[in-house]
Symmetry: C2
Subunit: 318 residues, 2 copies
Amino acid sequence: MSTRRILAITGGVGGAKLSLGLANILGSEELAFIVNSADDFQHLGFHVSPDIDTLVYTLSGTANAETGWGRCNESWQFMEALRELGGESWFALGDKDLAMHAERTRLLASGWTLTEVTKHLATALGIDYPIFPMCNESLRTMVETDQGMLEFQTYFVRERCEPVVRGFVYDGADQSRLNPALTTWVDEALPSGVILCPSNPYVSIEPILQVEGMRDYLVNCAAPVVAVSPVVAGRAIKGPTVKIMQELGVPGTAESVAAHYADFLDGFVLDAEDAGREHHIQALGLETAVAQTLMRSLEDRITLAGACLEFIDQLSRR
Amino acid sequence: MSTRRILAITGGVGGAKLSLGLANILGSEELAFIVNSADDFQHLGFHVSPDIDTLVYTLSGTANAETGWGRCNESWQFMEALRELGGESWFALGDKDLAMHAERTRLLASGWTLTEVTKHLATALGIDYPIFPMCNESLRTMVETDQGMLEFQTYFVRERCEPVVRGFVYDGADQSRLNPALTTWVDEALPSGVILCPSNPYVSIEPILQVEGMRDYLVNCAAPVVAVSPVVAGRAIKGPTVKIMQELGVPGTAESVAAHYADFLDGFVLDAEDAGREHHIQALGLETAVAQTLMRSLEDRITLAGACLEFIDQLSRR
């Protein structure tokens, strides 16, 4: 088999699981990541990058396996002391996790790009896979809700996704530019496949697609582009995906997700539970593959990653 | 006895010990503190106020009894994680301690003065004594050394006081203004005595004296002003006081310290070990009191505080 060059596009927890599966099969010459930075925010003076950190912690084996976010063997002394002082405590920052934010903030303030900082921090944690924030500019997901326009983390964490969503605004998208380091990697690696991990289409993947040039790249990509459904049997594997879809008047189904990406997608991986819906997706002009998309164990992650790679191989041969 | 109104002027560790002794005798109507903020610095994006925090932690019973600085029951997860990431780790920030800096930084950024922030944080830790940073402006102790001009914490912590000191510059002193909240307190309380705690004359007390109006206030103060020697038998009780004095060509003795303050001092408390030096200090025109100035136990702190208060009473009666 020829050398694989896989580009994985991912958000937070769900995406990071498949990313870990891929990293168990492919080496750092074969796999690179584009990660959402639109849920980055300034908190307590820190630049926090939740999706980047979730990916970095997951790949480095330092993630909290129970929560999916944050670090393992974490302590919460800072947070408890801050609460005592009357500080803002709605966004949980572990003591070790804080070091990541502090160092990121310091390096950004000294003029580094988010890409440079991410590479530095990932390398420090022993990761040599290229990890590209989709852009270096500040592109931020804003949530239009029945309670007004909310910053993403305010909606997601502080308000626990309770407000009813009316739409999304990707603030700064028009000023953003596809990460130049990513462009260089793509030009050199000539990806043999692109995988959209099972992340929330609106808040994890869409901001990436909003970056100037990203959607065009995928539309024109010579290699197969496949997506893994974050929706199984009308339920989100993780998080508020289906709730948001319903609030936007979109049926909470795998085929709705597929339709969202149909203009650039070649194939769609749906869960075995949704096998009966294959024809809906094929009707969109997409190839389909059926797999177990629920990833409870590391074995599950690797199996799903293998299925995605095989699907890409199949699509390449056509 | 008429109501006491004592103003204690203090730096970090040594001064905080006597401050705690005073707070064990006097209530919050009887005692206020002026604390050095000239060793404040920006570190990892935080506004760190070492002397203020040492005082606040000491008074609130949350200080680390072993080190004298930082918090008790502290953990160091942040610091260890930061070291892993290649971050700056020469200034130790405990996980709980960080909350103090983060909250201070946030409040300062939102427009609060250092005095307001200090009051807020001290209150949160259960302290109702008035604690006044000497000024709200940025007044910073810079150390002229054989290795060039160093920020105070760089000299003190990173370089472990090893560079040879040639002098001090109190950067921003000409732009500083005596803390208005302190002025108000003084006008209302009419202090019955002022105590200079046994802190380093150059790096803890002198910056306070450099604030516009502070030295004048002490020179003209109707109430007795006494100082407790930070030097015992030619040794500093804590820190580099004597090393600095010697490098500046000043004999490392109690009477050198007394001479440094002689223009506004009424009395000087020296250690029993230095009882034989009383006449040197009396020769400066100062009254003297002899006490045990080494404070190993809480009892020692209270005893020394009591001796200072009695000395002030004696001086008032003259």
